[in-house]
């Protein structure tokens, strides 16, 4: 019991603390790929610390929704970090919900973020909300079908079960459905976390913004929470991708050594995925907004193929 609580605490801390590092690393790698030196990988921590000491300028038009949202979004991400199996196949709080619960929790955060975007009455915010929601809505079927594909293979939608049974299956990567589902989920993860080619996290042009446009009004600690939450979301998605599809090294017991190995494995896997994200972001351009549905329907097709392949291979 103590060990489980400890593991939960560790997971929470990992997500909370490593998220800015992950963001920093992706940025650093991107800078290097662009031939720049770039900011330190720890720059996001500095940004957050600075934002916390600044005052918050809040639009007069806003309501409590605007102020409440950053806290909610951050809380949702922290809660999600307790649900996702990171180091061990047994997350004590895992029973709070399966992967569908996780997806809906994330949608809750998006919901409020989009509301906050509308709250100030600025055209940018509304635009961001509208765009964010169409992408979120279109990504949803792919997520669910990809989940279905995984669930079919392991016979469960519980995150623990998926990881545990996946780890037992040595021929995992030979399964075509598995790989298809992975690619589909990866594309969706990019869309959900606001990465290229769906959204450019570094843009300055309001008219091309999606996520940024929604948070254009935020400042000070609110902005800090939202940036932090965005980092955590990226971290969570990369963790999901790595542990659901490549559950290597995840600890089966709560003893220190396997957990330590799991930690290292997690760092490696997430690092590799982060590198993949960075390379992808450097090598492709952002899609026009109305091209994004095509990308997402492509990923949906892949996910559906994964499901079909299960039924026909079975």
């Amino acid at each position: 019991m103590t060990a489980s609580i400890l593991i939960e605490a560790i997971q929470l801390l990992i997500v909370a603390l490593a998220a800015p590092l992950l963001v920093g690393s992706v940025r650093k790698l991107k800078a290097r790929l662009q031939g720049r030196r770039g900011a330190s990988v720890f720059q996001p921590y500095r940004d957050l610390r600075k934002l916390l000491v600044k005052e918050a300028v809040i639009s007069e038009n806003t309501s409590w929704i605007f102020r409440f949202t950053p806290y909610l979004v951050a809380s949702v991400m922290l809660l999600s970090s307790l649900v996702v199996p990171m180091l061990t196949t047994r997350t004590p709080l895992g029973f709070t919900g399966n992967i569908i619960v996780l997806m809906y929790l994330l949608l809750l955060a998006t919901f409020f973020l989009a509301l906050a975007g509308l709250d100030a009455g600025s055209a940018f915010g509304g635009m961001g909300s509208s765009r964010e929601m169409i992408i979120a809505a279109l990504a949803e079927p792919t997520v669910m079908i990809a989940i279905f594909a995984i669930a079919l293979r392991v016979g469960s939608t519980s995150l623990d079960e998926i990881v545990r049974r996946g780890a037992d299956d040595s021929l995992l990567l030979l399964n075509p459905g598995h790989l298809l589902a992975f690619v589909a989920f990866f594309i969706v993860a990019l869309a959900e976390t606001g990465r290229l080619p769906v959204d450019n996290p570094a843009t300055h042009l309001e008219l091309t913004m999606i996520h940024e446009a929604m948070i254009l009004e935020y400042s000070g600690r609110h902005l800090a929470l939202i940036e932090w939450a965005a980092g955590m979301k990226l971290f969570l998605f990369l963790t999901l991708l790595s542990n659901l599809f490549f559950p290597w090294g995840v600890a089966r017991t709560l003893e220190p050594l396997p957990v330590a190995i799991a930690f290292a494995a997690l760092a490696l896997k997430v690092g590799a995925l982060a590198a993949a994200v960075a390379i992808l972001e450097t090598s492709i351009a952002k899609l026009r907004l109305f091209r994004v549905p095509e990308l997402l329907s492509g990923s949906f097709t892949l996910a559906l193929l994964a499901v079909i392949s299960f039924f026909f291979v079975r």
Partner: protein
Amino acid sequence: MTINEALMLNLLAGMLSSFGAGAIGALLCARWPRAARVVGHTFALLGALLALGLGLAGLAGGTVSVSIAQVLPIGGVALGVDRLSAFFILVIAVAAVPSAIYALGYTREYEGRYSLAGMGAALNLFLASMSLVVMARNALTFLALWEAMSLASYFLVMTERDDRETERAGWLYFVMTHAGFACLLVGFLLLSHATGSMEFAGWQAGAAAVTGTTRNLVFILLAVGFGSKAGVIPLHIWLPQAHPAAPSHVSALMSGVMIKLGIYGLVRVGFDWLSGGPAWWGGALLLVAAISAVLGVLYALVEHDLKRLLAYHSVENIGIILFGVGGGMLFQTYHLPALAGLALIAGLYHTLNHAVFKSLLFMGAGAVLHATHTRNMEEMGGLIKRMPQTAVFFLIGSVAIAALPPFNGFISEWLTFQSLLLSFQIPDKAVNLTFALSVAALALTSGLAAACFIKAFGISFLALPRSEHAESAREVGFSMRAAMALLAVACLVLGVAPFTVLKFLSKTTSELLGATPDMQFTWNRIVTGGSFATVSPLWIAVALAALLASIPITLRVFRANTARRYYETWGCGRAVQTARFEYTATSFANPFKRVFSVLYRPVKELAIEFHPESRFFVRTISYSNEARSIFDDAIYGPLNRMLRSFAQRVRLLQSGNVNVYLLYILVALVVLLVIAR
């Protein structure tokens, strides 16, 4: 606790006499509108409370059967309560109680404008016929009550009768519902002919003997009849007309409850009267569910009339419920009763949930309408500051209908997902694929629903008021807020403590299917499909609350700057911000319109009037972007035109010329003589 029949009977009698007293009392007070309002709604409330008791008692296992041979010929009136009936009585009551409370305040401004006596009578009649129709135990009782329910609701829709739009809405509603009734009539008559009984019990016993075309025909007819009441696409067209036209508490009842009786009928058909059928029945329901859910929400997205938007969401939610019902039927076909139970529970739970949050939302919309006198979202905005409590209630309803934790919509949608995902146990590839696509449709629906309610809440309640009406809006009266508060609390309770309902529902479905559903649950946890999935709604809520509380504390501990300064919205330094800078509902929906343009087939119109001196100065711009309804264009429009042109042609027969008339008689004679030979 055992519930004896006397208690049930007393509750039933009490309920009916309250509704009766309400109806008659309201009519007697026709000269005193205020008295009519109070009497009508107070008795409605009392009756609804008794209905609540009846429903709960029935769910706890109480049964009752009443039959009065004297009233209605051919079998007389036969009523009975089993668990399924009791559950639907509960659904009715759960929406009816707050509606009655709400109506007390809401209808105050009707005094002197519309007939409150008629309205009070119709409301009581409506509630009574709804509660009774689910208890009906033979064909004629059911049909008579079903039509009485339609009639009462038609009167309620016609309350604000000065409006031509209301007139059209009432007409369309009643005609559609009557067409549905005609289907039911034929279906019932066919079934009773085939089974040789007018009693429902007889149908169940004799259903196995009904085979082939008749069986399928009965199913199709009943599905169409009940589907038109439920508002499934393409039989939904009356819904977005009638619900906005009705007074808001009536919309709440119609949308929250009445359309659910279509679901009740479908459940009865599928699991009781016909008890199972070929796979295509369930498959067809799943298809209809997917179409209703996705198209329902898509039409809602481009709708800027707040109440009409909600009405389209009812279409969507009926689709979600049908995923459960249709899935259940498919499972039953493949002899997986445990899964059928799970799917049915999901559908029924969503039925209850939808009743709760849709009533809440309609009441919220009603409060907004009451305060701003408009249903057009483009004229709202900023209401969260002017009507803070209503805003909170509407927000809770929005989050619940968007199926987000920790509210009730989430639980039922989660259960629906689980039941659909567990379909892999069916050894048929085509069916598997159907389910997979249903999963996708449901997921798309939930995403779009979230988007739509961001629009609905965000555009109506947030930012600056878009019109003077919205500017001068005030919070509504106590009774209206109290009603909404009740429902908002219900949303939360049903969301964090689903075991309360699941306990009853699992018994209900066991009674219906003869097998325990494939799920276990305790007070804090639901497990489906062995270990297929778990959820602990209570823990999610608690953990979320705890984390929410901990973040500000943590920030304080780390001495974050807590200073706040209010300043204007950032608009690139432009001089003033007015509501015209805001993103509108139209613009919010535009990306959706473009992405799904195949379905919307939008008609755009851009008219710019230039300054006479120079084309660079614009005087006015008007832009409109309307979505067209495929169904109007493809089905109802042609049908209507066909009927009318047929009628026009037939009218030519009545030329006014006596010679021609005589010719008709002659022709008739000759034709008959030829036939007679």
